[in-house]
Subunit: 466 residues, 2 copies
């Protein structure tokens, strides 16, 4: 057990024994840090674990409190335990079925992994776009720098201070979104037959790309709160050529690796010469007090290829992403040039302007508040309406929930039933190559909360109970 897990378990016992009663305020983080002689960060991680176990709840500007209805609340799913049978594969038919309804506006889109467009600062972005067309020579019609727009890279580099990063402008390459960054990383670092380790469940786009490029996928056990455990990777280290992790608010689980695990992971992989592609596209959408650091923050040897984008926070349609590829920079630049010459000048400059004004922090603060409130509403609704035995993740960032039903349920079939009622869900089997997660689904809570949405969740619950 790590230090923060020990601390959490200790507090859980205090609550079970009644030393801390429902409604009691938890001791302040500073106090615990002092009393136990541990870092502030360790206490925060411990409290987050307690929160994920429904033992305590945080109230803005008031602190943490012992929960009122510990026993009634839904448990968090167990860590996954994928079988990694090489014969199993993606259910492309299922993915195609869900994709077909992605653009239908009549449907309540709980299956997407992007916030509703009402979350984006459209008017302000339009102004930045206009400004970009004025500040760029020849209105942005010219080819951009191959490494990427200067203003964008400057501001992404500056913004890295939020996770104690110290990126320079020349450490960054712009890309057409984070998937483009991952595609470049795969092209630079892998050959067919190479074995790539990923979380399980994992975003299906990663699986599709990996399979398409002839890679062998190793799915790692993943915990809904703490993500992949470095010890699990260590046990299979000889089988791994490259690793891809979404260390902060992984999609679909919502897990966030504790800082010490990230540190250990970077050290372990570095020791064995295994590059780590880190897709940190949800890191800015945190609900806790601070932005969680990415693994990149602990990367001393340039082995971590840190990827990000504004697709989940500002404008997916702008196709603006980036990567800090560490010591692989030259190879990545070459591939970017060969395959697509350069990126869209205008949208990169527009995002550069948006970041430059400092609006990003204000926008994120609002977005986080709304999303966190939504996540609580969704969990409450699931607790109220879904059948007994349901488990649900407690993400502390991002905008998706992972719901586990009782074994035997088939969310692939349930998809059709829900769709006939105008609701689209993402069945669990989409997020793995293995025969697992049939009784799971991903729900997007990045939709404007309303009584109508509550009613839709109620309908889902009723259908599941039938």
């Amino acid at each position: 057990m790590t230090l923060y897990q020990e601390l959490a378990t200790n507090f859980e016992r205090l609550i079970q024994k009644g030393s801390l009663k429902v409604g009691d305020k938890m001791p302040s983080i500073r106090t615990v840090s002092k009393e136990y002689g541990v870092s502030i960060n360790t206490v925060i991680q411990a409290y987050l674990v307690l929160e994920s176990r429904s033992c305590i709840v945080s109230r803005p500007q008031a602190g943490f409190f012992v929960c009122e209805k510990v026993d009634l609340r839904l448990p968090v799913p167990q860590a996954s335990n994928p079988s990694n049978n090489p014969k199993e594969q993606a259910d492309d038919g299922l993915i195609g079925k869900v994709f077909r309804n992605f653009v239908n506006k009549e449907i309540t889109q709980l299956s997407l992994s992007v916030p509703d467009e009402s979350f984006f600062p459209v008017a302000r972005l339009n102004k930045c776009l206009h400004k970009a067309s004025q500040t760029l020579s020849s209105g942005g019609t010219g080819y951009d720098d191959i490494q990427g727009n200067f203003l964008l890279r400057k501001n992404v580099a500056k913004w890295s201070f939020t996770w104690a990063g110290n990126l320079g402008i020349d450490d960054l390459v712009s890309t057409s979104g984070a998937m483009h960054a991952i595609s470049l990383a795969f092209m630079a670092l892998t050959k067919p037959g190479d074995r790539i380790a990923v979380e399980s469940p994992v975003y299906f786009g990663i699986l599709q790309l990996a399979k398409n490029m002839g890679l062998k996928v190793i799915e790692l056990p993943t915990h809904p709160v703490t993500g992949v455990d470095p010890d699990d990777v260590k046990a299979r280290i000889g089988e791994i050529d490259i690793c891809l992790l979404v260390s902060n608010f992984n999609n679909p689980l919502g897990s966030c690796m504790p800082e010490e695990n990230k540190k250990a992971m970077v050290k372990l992989l570095g020791k064995h010469g295994i590059p780590l592609i880190e897709n940190d596209l949800y890191g800015d959408v945190y609900f806790g007090p601070n932005r969680p650091k990415p693994c990149k923050a602990f990367d001393e040897e340039g082995m971590v290829l840190w990827c990000g984008s504004v697709s989940k926070t500002l404008a997916p349609g702008y196709r603006v992403g980036w990567m800090a590829p560490g010591k692989y920079l030259k190879d990545i630049l070459k591939l970017k040039l060969f395959h697509s010459v350069s990126g869209t000048t205008l949208t990169q400059e527009a995002i550069g302007h948006f970041l430059e004004t400092g609006r990003y922090e204000k926008h994120l603060a609002q977005m986080r508040k709304k999303l966190y409130a939504n996540s609580l509403q969704f969990i409450r609704a699931i607790s109220d309406y879904f059948p007994q035995g349901t488990k649900v993740s407690r993400p502390l960032g991002g905008f998706v929930l992972w719901v586990e039903l009782e074994k035997g349920k088939d969310t692939g079939k349930f998809f059709d039933q829900a769709l006939s009622q105008g609701i689209s869900i993402a069945p669990g089997r989409m997020f793995t190559l293995q025969n697992q997660f049939y009784h799971c689904m991903r729900l997007n809570y990045g939709l404007p909360w309303s009584d109508g949405l509550d009613l839709q969740l109620k309908r889902l619950g009723q259908m599941l109970k039938q």
Copy 2:
């Protein structure tokens, strides 16, 4: 000899024998067509060949005339004859050297293959961009259709009437420029070790991408006027897995395949099940009476992947391109999704608006006029200033010239000398994997003509004479 070549040779003899004297008006195309019982198109091709041989010259709205100074004008280079030694390779150092100075505004950039930004309709494009931000739901922040923006595809499909094409909206996939289209085609249709046939010389980006993806490159003999001969392909057909051609105003030669050769090429490749990637990004920049048809116009079996973009005519920085991949559509769509999700919504919609208004035709008409005049000025200056023995292409479209010096000259070394005088040229060795074209160079005439530019060409000539 093909019909049009026969016809051209016949007329050349008439001129040599004095039956047609310098200054005489050539018989009208209609008359020749009637008298010889051949198609209008065959006569046009014959006259273009005569023009390229400096036998005749066209005067707008007056017809073709026998030239005044036949003997004084520079000859066109011979067809290339690449050796295809598998051990030879790209001169990456040379390419890197030329690339490093691409963005330096102090230098006369004769090395680029993109028209100067003053050729682009920047103000009008800005208006279209603004309109796009208004017409798109949520200001273009949302993901676009995976196949590509509807308005863009609708108008590219409509525009295909200019080459007698009949593309439908659903035949087209949008891409981030033409190189992205080629990258997708390579990924869909090739595996490492496959043999790809291309023109020689050919744009170095194609060679870099092909080598990077493990393909074996077969360079085909290419004529500066008529491009690749189907008979040369036929002779090597068993060695070819896939073919890539820039059939209209190929970069760097400026060649344009005669229609009957295109037809024969499509038939030949189709018969042997060899897909043809056709990069038609210069086709709209023609100086003759009509837009030359692409090979795609003769593609009955869906074996031609027709690629295009607005990077050479409107806005390279918008990264808007497309392809009509024929029967490979599904594979291309899948790869586009896996590697980059979708394209930039806003710039695609803006180009859609631009095409929709009909401004494109007006803009192209102006651009062609300027570029054609420029090409004549450049050829005149080269004729006046460059050393004896110089040969130069006579492109009837596009914006680059291919200059061949006397054997023994090294344009790779000459690059440094020219650069020290503030002039950047593209050495011929960049455009091949073989040890050839050392005495050749590509010059971009897509720059605003001025006395200063004339002076720079004079300086180039003086340096070459030393």
